[in-house]
């Protein structure tokens, strides 16, 4: 699973549209499963499944009819299309409403169906353009679980501007900025990019003013919040730091390295905040 992460206008959808042969590149080309997007558009379309950014469904058709339509347009024989659609509707948790017109569906159900329409006919590559856009956190989380269930079975390229989404779903992430890939790697790789300093969070009792003065004298970046100490610095050694805090008379209850977030990485790579 590969994510294109970037803010609105960074070129994620344009990239997907070009790869799906919906948009002609002004110059250059790309290959999808070996097919040239400029010269072999139809061949490209035989190996891809797409869930566009908008929840694009045929509103007056049922979920089954929507799925069957796409399956048939992708060249699946009618009886097989019917069977696959019925199975997919169940997998996506829409079985009980399979005969209802989709205009009556909730946003989350529509998104699930949209993704199912990308999955039908077993394409080699699936493009999901902002699959959880506009959903509430609960529905978004539920949809992540559905998408994550295809991990390891399908090659999925998704675009998102949600950090947690890219972090939760993707094996690899490309950070896009102004139409270009600014950085690429696994979530951990990208986070590591921002790790020019470490932060250790220590929860401790019995922290006297003298103890704090001693800690501040040794470490240049110390933040105190109640019983919580946040100590930052380059190449911090966990054992050495906790031993020093303990030596000041403080009683340590817990201590851990703060994980660098993808947001930190994005900020470092692009110099911009990524709006949620």
């Amino acid at each position: 699973m590969f994510a294109l992460l970037g803010p609105n206008g960074s070129g994620k959808t344009t990239t997907i549209n070009m790869l799906c042969c919906l948009l002609k590149p002004t110059r250059g080309t790309a290959r999808v499963m070996g097919f040239d997007i400029n010269r072999e558009a139809r061949s490209v379309k035989t190996v891809i499944g797409v869930s566009p950014q908008e929840t694009t469904l045929s509103d007056h058709l049922s979920s089954l009819e929507n799925l069957e339509l796409i399956a048939k347009l992708r060249g699946v024989p009618p009886d097989k299309a019917r069977k696959w659609s019925a199975a997919l509707v169940e997998i996506m948790g829409l079985g009980e409403r399979r005969k209802d017109q989709v205009r009556k569906f909730s946003g989350g159900m529509k998104r699930r169906l949209s993704i199912a329409m990308a999955l039908i006919a077993d394409p080699a590559i699936i493009f999901l353009d902002e699959p959880t856009l506009g959903l509430d956190p609960q529905a978004r989380r539920a949809l992540w679980e559905y998408i994550a269930s295809f991990k390891g079975e399908k090659t999925i390229l998704l675009t998102t501007h949600y950090m947690e989404e890219a972090d939760f779903l993707s094996d690899n992430i490309a950070v896009m900025d102004s139409g270009k890939i600014a950085a690429m790697g696994s979530s951990l790789d990208l986070k590591t990019l921002s790790m020019d300093k470490h932060t250790i969070i220590i929860n401790a009792w019995n922290m006297t003013l003298k103890a704090l003065d001693d800690i501040r004298a040794k470490y240049p970046e110390v933040k105190v919040n109640g019983n919580s100490l946040s100590i930052s610095g380059k190449m911090l050694d966990f054992k050495e730091t906790t031993d020093f805090v303990h030596s000041t008379g403080a009683i340590i209850r817990s201590a851990y390295f703060k994980e660098p977030s993808l947001e930190d990485a994005y900020l470092k790579i692009t110099g911009k905040e990524l709006a949620d």
């Binding site: 799906c20 948009l23 379309k45 797409v50 869930s51 509103d59 058709l61 009819e65 339509l69 060249g75």
Partner: protein, 365 residues
């Protein structure tokens, strides 16, 4: 057969959308009901014609006393002189004055004997009511040709103008309303395609390995299904209001069907060019409403200036209206309307092809 799947989807989408279906059927239906109620029933047309017999032969007497009274839309009022008849016309007591000049009987007799003849009739009519006048002129023309056994002009070829038919207002207006209903298909067929474009559903469809012609055929076929039902409903409704189909019903249906193909293709062209429903809708109305007027849907094209007629005749609808009227009112046969049918078919093929070309070009813009 991807286009069949698309056609079924589009037909379902239209039929399950009460607004779209209502607009498609109800709008022209409303016109049909209004005109049917206003002009239908037994209120057949009847015009009083003043007749002056200057020939005073047995032949002219036979024409005036036996033939003209047999024409359903005429009531005959005899006058002694042309001046008297013209005066009655000025006073609106008659709709037209027909003067049968001396020598009429001889010329008709020559024609009966298959000799060279030159039949002349003088007709004075009220210019302020050209629709009525043109109908009177054409009916008298048909009647005298029938009486004198003159060959029907090449333009209508071998078709026989049935002067015995009782032409009612609804007979005249119903074919026009049916064509108007089919003109409404321009915005409706554009609407479903543009909506798919605007909502992004089209992008999903375009990401499948479907050919451009399959898209156009899929969208068109669904509208054609609707058009067939529409035509049947309107013909039945017209008949219910008293429309008499004198000619071949299948021929009339063919004319309406080709007209529907033209409308749907024009709709597809608009849909390919328009970026949104807001763009497509006014564009369609700008096209279809003036065409309804130019094509003589509501009133005869004869009364329009030449350049307007020329403009109207560029498009298929005026040909459709006149051909449909010829078949329904006059009972014209295929040969008489073949020119119009060929014109409609050519228009349909060209517009459909243009739709495909534009769609292909725009589908990856």
């Amino acid at each position: 057969m991807r286009f069949v799947s698309l056609a079924i989807r589009n037909a379902k989408e239209t039929c399950r959308d009460p607004l779209a279906l209502g607009f498609l059927i109800a709008f022209p239906l409303l016109f049909m009901l209004l005109f049917g109620a206003a002009l239908g029933g037994n209120s057949s047309l009847s015009y009083t014609i003043g007749v002056v017999d200057q020939d005073k032969t047995e032949v002219s007497g036979q024409f005036i006393n036996q033939v003209l009274p047999g024409v359903a839309i005429f009531k005959i009022a005899p006058f002694e002189s042309a001046d008297e008849a013209t005066e009655a016309l000025k006073n609106a007591n008659i709709k037209a004055a027909l003067v049968i000049p001396a020598g009429f009987g001889d010329e008709v007799t020559k024609n009966w004997q298959q000799q060279q003849s030159n039949i002349i009739l003088e007709l004075v009519y009220d210019e302020s009511d050209l629709t009525v006048s043109s109908q009177i002129v054409s009916t008298i023309n048909a009647t005298i040709r029938d009486f004198a056994r003159v060959n029907i002009p090449v333009t209508i070829n071998t078709s026989h103008i049935n002067v015995e038919t009782e032409v009612s207002q609804i007979d005249f207006i119903a074919p026009g309303i049916i064509i108007f209903g089919l003109l409404i298909m321009v915005p409706t067929s554009a609407r479903i395609m543009v909506r798919d474009k605007e909502t992004g559903f089209m992008a999903r469809l375009l990401a499948t390995p479907t050919y451009p012609w399959e898209f156009i055929a899929g969208y068109s076929a669904s509208m054609l299904i609707v058009a067939i039902f529409q035509i049947i409903i309107f013909i039945l409704l017209g008949i219910a209001f008293g429309m008499t189909v004198v000619g071949n019903m299948a021929l009339a249906f063919l004319i309406f069907f080709l007209t529907a193909v033209c409308s749907i293709s024009i709709g597809m062209i608009v849909a390919a060019l328009a970026k949104s429903e807001n763009q497509a809708e006014p564009l369609c109305w700008i096209i279809s409403m003036p065409l309804a007027v130019l094509s003589g849907v509501w009133f005869s094209q004869e009364i329009m200036p030449g350049y307007i007629q020329f403009l109207g005749n560029i498009f298929p609808y005026s040909h459709a209206v006149s051909a449909a009227r010829m078949v329904i009112i006059r009972g014209a046969e295929f040969s008489a309307v073949s020119g119009s049918i060929v014109f409609l078919a050519c228009w349909a093929v060209i517009a459909f092809s243009l739709g495909i070309i534009l769609f292909r070009y725009k589908m990856r813009a």
